[in-house]
Amino acid sequence: MSDDAHRPESAVPTPRSPVRSLLRLWPYVRPVRARLAGAAGVAVLASGTGLLIPLVLKWLVDGPVAARDAGGIWLGGGLLLLLGLAEAGLFGLRRWLVARPLASVEAAMRAALYRHLQRLPVAFHDRWPTGQLLSRGTTDLQLLRMFLAFPLTFLFVNGVTILAGCAILLTQRWTLGLVLLAPIVPLVVLCSVFEAKYSVAARRSQDQVGDLTTLVEESVLGIRIIKGFGRHRAQAHAYTALTHELRATELHKARLLAAIWGVITILPETAIGAALILGTVQVADGDLSAGTLVAFLSTALALRWPVESIGFLLAISNESATAADRYFEVMDVPPADAADASALAAAAADGAPAPDGLALTGVEFRYPDAPAGAPPTLRGVDLHVRPGETMALVGATGSGKTTLTALVPRLYDVTGGRITLDGRDIMTLPRDELRSLVAVAFEEPTLFSATAAENVLMGGEEADGDGVRRALRIAQAHEFVAALPQAEHTQVGEQGLSLSGGQRQRLALARAVVGSPRFLVLDDPLSALDVHTEARVEAALREVLATTTALIVAHRPSTVLLADRVALLSGGRVTAVGTHQQLLRESAEYAHLMSGTGPADSAPAGAAGPADPARTAEETER
C-alpha cells in the first residue's frame, strides 16, 4: 500500500549549488568556528610534521650514520622522537578539538529542528509524514556532523597539499610539471558532471530512506489492523519493494562513484607514467639528473592520495549538501507565529477584554491544501456563546464540527471572518495567552509518555496535587487511576501502560479541566464511555460548566443536555440555535441527528447519512 512516495510537493528538489547549501550551515558552525579552524590548522601542522620525519631520516642515514658519528646519531634519534611525539600529539589534538564541538553542532541543529517543528502550523504536519521529518533529524544530521569532522577539513588540507605539491613540481621542472598537471582540466570537467548526477541520486536515496522510515512508523501505529487482517506479509512486501528501490538508487550512486574513482585513478597515473617516460629520456640525454627525477616522481606519488581522496570527499560533500537542503527545506517553512507580529501590534487598539464570551462572526475556513474549486469547509459561521454559557455543537458526520473546534485555539487560522474571546480577536492574542485561555479535549485522546498525573498537569502547570485529584474526579478517572500499579505516578502513553479508549478519554478530559480554563472546547468528550460512567462524568462536569464558557461537540442527546443551548452546523454554516427541545420541534435535520429517525433529506451532501436502507440491504446480499 505504501509503495508510493508520499512526499509533500514542497519537497521537490530545486537545483542549488552544493556550496551554497553547505554555507547555510554557518550559523550553527559559527559558535565552534575557532575550534574547527584550529583543528584544520593542526591538521596542516601534523601533515607538515609527517613530511619532516622522512627528511630527518634521510639526513640521519646520509649524515651521522654514514659518518659513524655517535653524537649525531643520538641527536638524530632524539629529533626523530620529538617529531614523532609532536605528530602523534597533533593528530590526537585535532580530534580532541572537534569531538565535543561537532557533537554540539549536531545537537544544536537537531534541537533547532525539533523546536521549529513544534511551532509549525498543524497544516504543515498534515502534509509531512513523520518519517520524512525524523530522517532529517537523524541520518541527515549525522551526515552533516561527519562532513564537518572529515571532508571539510581534508578538502582544505588536501587542497593545500595539492597546491603546494603542484608548485613544487612546477619549480622543479616546469615541462614535466605541465605534463603532470595536464589531466586537471578533464578531471575538473568530469568531476562537475559527476557532482551534478550524484547529487540527484543522493537526494533520491535520502528521500527513499524517509519513505522507509514512514512505512516503519505506520506499520507500528497500525499494527492492530495489520495483525487483525493478517496483512503483515503484504506490509513486508511493500517494505521490500521500497528497500529494492533504495538498493537500486544506492547501486546507481555506486556506479557513478566507481566511474569517477576509476577516472581519478587512471588520469593522474597516466600523467605520471608520461612524465616518467619523458623524464627518463631527459635523464638519458643528460638534460636531467637522476636524483631530480626521483625527487620529482616521489613528490608526484605523494600527491596521489590527496588527489584520489578528492573523489569520495566530493561525494560526501555532495550528500551533505543534499542533507543540508533537506534540513533547511523544513527550517525555511515559517513558524505559525511568524505573521503574528503586526496583528499583535494592532492588539493595543483592541481595548481591554470585556466579558463577552466566545463569538464567531462570518467565520470561513478552507484547508490550505484543499483542491481549488472545492467549497470551503466552513462558510460564514455566526455563533455567540455567552459568558458562562455552554453551547453544544451538533452536525452530521463530516460537517466540520472538529474543524471548527480546531479554529478556536488557532491550530488552524480562519480564512475569513473572525473569532473573538471576550471581545478580543484571537488573531491579536499571543498564541500562548490564547491557548492558556482555551482548554481543549480532542476527539482522539492522545496521552504522552509520562505519568498519569503529568499527563493531566499538561493542562495547567500551576495546578497542585489537589487540583489534579479534583480534575480526575470530575472526569471519573480517579478510581481507575488509583488502581494503576503506581496510582497517578504510573507511566502511561506509548512508553508506558496502555490504557483503554475510555480511560484515555477520561484522562484527556481531566487534562482539559485541570487548569480551570476560562474557555473550554470539548470534541465529543464522552464517546468511549459506558452509560453509567458517562452519567457520572456529566454530573461532575456540570459543576465545571456552570462557571465556564464552553463549546461541546455532541453526537448524543445525553451530551447535548449538558449544554444551555445547541447550535446546528449544516452545510458549513450554523443554521439553527436554540434549546434542545426547541430544535427538536423546529429542525427536522436536528431531530434526525438526535434520534436517527425521520427524514434525512436535510442532511448535507458529503455527510455519512444512510443511503436508502432497502437498496443497501439488497446490495450486500451475497
Partner: protein, 625 residues
Amino acid sequence: MTTTTTAAGRPPEDSDADAATPPGPPAPGDPFDQDVLPTPKGASLALLRSLLRPYTARGRLTVVLLLLQQAAVQAGPLLVAYAIDHAVPALRAHDHGPLLAVGAGYLACALAAGALQYGFTRSCARVSQDVLRDLRGRIFRHAQALSLDFHERYTSGRLISRSTTDVESLRELLNDGLQELVGVVLSIVYVTAMLLYLDWGLGTAAVLSAGPLLLFIRSYRRRSKRVYARRSTAIAAVIVKFAETLNGIRPVQAFRRERPNDAAFGRLNRVHERVNGSATLEMARYVLLSRTAANIAVAAIVLWGASRVATGSLALGVLAAAVLYLRRLYDPIDRLGMFLNAYQSAAASLEKVAGLLAQRPAVPEPAAPVPLPDRAADRPGREVTFSGVHFAYRTGGEVLPRFDLTLAAGKTVAVVGSTGAGKSTLAKLLARFYDPTGGRVLLDGVDLRDLSTTDLRRGIVMVTQEAFLFSGTVAENIAIGRPEAPRAEIERAARAIGAHDFIAALPEGYDTDVRKRGGRISAGQRQLVAFARALLADPAVLILDEATSSLDIPGERAVQRAMHTVLRDRTAVVIAHRLSTVEIADRVLVMSHGRIIEDGTPSELIGSKGEFASLHEAWQDSLVQ
C-alpha cells in the same frame, strides 16, 4: 593558529572522565525502558555472518578485486626504480626496449588500477546493498511477526532507530571498513615481510613493537564498545521523543507543551551529544596512544639500527631501506582505527538489532497448521469455544479468571460491562492478538494456535475503535483485507455501511489519498472506512470493539440497519457501550471484573432486573430526553 588556545580551555582528562559516566541515573528494572533487550552472547557476530553468507562468492570476488587493485597501485614505485636503473642505461645505449616496456607497463598498471577500482567499488556496493536490504527486511518482517504486547512496549521510535541509524552504521562498516581492513592487512604483511627479509633483528624488533599497539587496540575496543552501545540507546531515545511529539502535535500545541518539550528533548539530545562526543574522544585517545607508541618504536629501532651500523654489524643500505619501510609499517594505524571505529559502531548496532531479532513472538504461527473444516454452504459463520481459558498479563495481575464459553455459529453476541471489565481482552483473545495464559480458544473445534495466519484472518476479523488509516487511497484502505478485490466490491462494502456518500464527495472519490490534498477524514468517517474494510474481508467471525463510538446517531443507525444483513451469515461479537447494538443481538454477556455475570437474550436480561437491566434503563434515559 591563535584561536585554538582560547577554545582548548578544558583539560583532556575531563573528557575522559565523563566518557566513563553513564548517562543519567540508571533506570531500574524493565529492559524495554532502557532499550537493552537481552542478546544471546555472540548473537551480533552470528547475525553478521548469516547476513554475509549468501554473498560469500561475491564477497570473495570483491576481496580479490581489491587485492589486484592494490597490487597494480604498488607496482608504480617498482617501475620507477626499474626505469632509472635499467631504462636509462639502455637508452644511452640506444636501446628503446626497456623504456617502451616501462611505458607500456605503467600505462597498463594505471588502466588496471582504475578498472579494478571501478569493479571493486561496484562489487562492494552490490554486496553491502544486498546485505543491507536483507537486514532491513529481516528487521521489518520480524517486527511485524512479533505480537502486540511487544509493540505496546517497544514503541515505533525504537523500531525506526533500529531500521535507520543502526542499519546505517553497518553500511559504513561494509562500504569503507572492508577496504580499510584489506588495505591495512596487506600493507602490514608486505612491509613486515620486507623488513624480515632485510634484517632479522630489525624485523623482529618491528614485530615486537606491535605488542603495545595490540594492547591499545584491545583497550580501545573495550572502551568504545561501551560508548557505542550507549550512543545507540541515546539516539533511539531521541527518536522516540521526536516521533511522539510529531504524532501528537495537536495536543502539544493546544496545551502549550512546546517549551516543556524543548526542555525534555534537550535533555535527551544532550545525553546523545555527550556520548557522541565521547565516542569521538575515544578515537582521539586511541590515535594519540597508538601514534605515540609507533613513533617511539620508529625512533628506537632507528637508533638501534644506526648504532649497529656504527659498530659495523649492519650495512648502511639495509638501514636506509629498513627505515623507509618502518615508516610505512605504522602508516595504516589510523586507518586501522577507522576500521575499528566503524566495526565497534556497527557491532553496537548489530547487538541492538540482534536483541530485537531474538525476541520470540508471544503469538507464534504454527509450524504445522491445521486446516479449518469446510464450511457447509447453509451453515452461517463458525462456532467459537473458550475452553478453560484464563488470562493474566505477563507482568502479573489476572484479567480474566478461568471461564468456559461457547458462541454458536451465526449468532450475534453483545458483550457489555463497564470500562476495564475485560471485554476487550476477551475480544483480543478471540482475534488471537494474545494467547490465553491457560486453556484454549477454538474455532469450529480447531485451536486458534494451530491455524495458519491466512486461515485465521479469513476466519476472524476485529474492528477496533482506533480506526487507523495507512497512507494510500481510500480504496486501498478498504481493501487491506483483500487487496485483489475489484472496485465494485469495495464500493459495495462502503455502500453497505453508509460510507459511500462521503467517500464519493471527496475530491477524488475512492482514489483520494488520505494523507494528501483534501483527504481529511473525520474520526466518524474513519470508523466507517474501518467497517467497510472488515465487511470486504468477509470473515466467518466478526468482532466489533467499540467500532461505532465516534459515529453520530444517524450514522450508527445506518450501521445497525446494515448489520442486520451483514451479520446474518456470520458469527459476531459486538462490544459496545451504547446499547443500541444490543437490539440486534441474539445473546448478551454482561462482564464485570473479568467475569461473565449475566448471560441470556436481551429480553430475558431486561426482565431479570440485574446489571444489564439497569444499564439498559440508563441508556434508555439517555436517549429519550
